[in-house]
Symmetry: C2
Subunit: 236 residues, 2 copies
DNA sequence: CGCCCTGTGTCGGGTAAATGACACAAGACC
DNA sequence: GGTCTTGTGTCATTTACCCGACACAGGGCG
């Protein structure tokens, strides 16, 4: 099996390709990376669970991390699918409280882990670091607010369109780029949007006949993001 | 500097009654209050709008601030009703980006305003302040995550029950206390939960027959929070 | 007092989406 | 090659909730 290379030299380039990290002052960035550890997860392996004590922050280097919520009635709420070079885990850093969600490896994953003490140490030399990390929080808050509005006041098809655009933009992590191929199953999309798999299917068919996307097995290709944006605005 | 206002002693007591502010180191707390201004809003007056440039952070002293979202199709999404001594407006402080929501005075309100430069100045003397303010962000993120889960995977009645409990706890601001009377109309509850006013009415009637609450005009009284919690768990 | 306005109670029809069921296609694995 | 698993397509049925309508109750105010 052509199992992708562990990124010995490449990982620093990947980390720096993210808008947030690239915006950090050199000294703080270096201090963060000083004690970073590479971490490989097997497919389906759990990184942490809701309620766990905080143990540091992470950056996705390769693969996909699935962030999920409770299953109090057997239901799963899928919050996000994180790809490189997205950072996560910083909520617990600020307040020391338990993790809010579960994190799973979807397929084999490679992560960068910066242990809690190392982050604090980096900040000790650059106190403004709390603000930089806070900017990660505001990004997540803003995205979450948007997600709430999508779910509460958009019908199925615009909702799906909106989410595809969000995922394609890397949840706001990239400024310039935009993914063309979204590797998400209809089932997973449904869990994110609280729609049934069948309804997602229906909506995707609509979007395909509009020429906005093309459906593939386990993935969706964006053909015309402008048409997708139009479909998102259609309240009715 | 706070002058010989008759309200002086009063508002400081109110501010300090909040768990977050009370946990601040004395020097930082004092620096924040040093340039605070009292601000009175007329009923229905708008404090800021989505898209506005950031102008500081606020603390509710008296009255209720309504935080609302877009009306892209004429619909309004009600995010929260803030009461004393809740702080808000710190998102834009971190990233300098425009405000995410509209803020309105529900009835006459009194606020404490700390202008952006004053906050930055306070932090200049106490860099750890970014972390303290970041803890405000994590509080909001955690509450928002809970709200998402409520809305996506709870049916109407448990959803109403969950929200009543959330509001009663001051959105997590108080550790000990819990409101007994919730001054919210059924219409407003519906906007928060994305339920129609009629459905909210129905759910409240259910909760009342359970003996959990009592309905009053424009307000709801919690009689038995344990029964409310039970009703929240009922997935079916 | 009568008037208006806001909040509430309640009904019945309409509908978007959930649910359950079943068949099919593409890989993965043996 | 066959068998399993996962993802998809597409019915018909059911249902929770929306929406419009209307009536009533309280409260402020002329």
């Amino acid at each position: 099996m052509p199992h992708a290379q562990p990124l010995k030299d490449d990982w620093e380039r990947i980390v720096r390709s993210g808008a947030w990290f690239a915006s950090l002052p050199a000294e703080f960035a270096a201090a963060l990376l000083a004690n970073a550890r590479l971490l490989t997860l097997a497919p389906g392996q759990q990184l942490f669970a809701r309620g766990d004590a905080p143990d540091g922050i992470y950056c996705v280097l390769r693969g996909v991390i699935r962030i999920t919520g409770i299953t109090q009635g057997g239901q799963e709420a899928l919050l996000a699918m994180l790809e490189a070079p997205q950072w996560f885990g910083e909520i617990a850093l600020f307040d020391g409280a338990p993790r809010t969600h579960d994190a799973w490896a979807e397929g084999e994953c490679e992560l960068l882990r910066i242990p809690q003490p190392s982050v604090l140490n980096a900040i000790a030399h650059y106190p403004e670091g709390w603000r930089e990390l806070g900017r990660l929080l505001t990004q997540k808050l803003r995205m979450t607010f948007l997600a709430v509005e999508e779910i509460t006041l958009l019908p199925a098809t615009p909702r799906v369109a909106a989410r595809l655009l969000t995922i394609a933009s890397g949840y706001g992590t990239w400024s310039d780029r935009s993914k063309r191929i979204i590797g998400v199953s209809q089932e997973q999309l449904g869990l994110m949007l609280s729609l049934s798999r069948q309804t997602v299917n229906q909506s995707l068919r609509e979007l395909e006949t509009l020429g906005a996307i093309q459906r593939n097995r386990g993935a969706i290709e964006i053909l015309d993001s402008e048409k997708l944006r139009e479909a998102r605005e259609r309240t009715a």
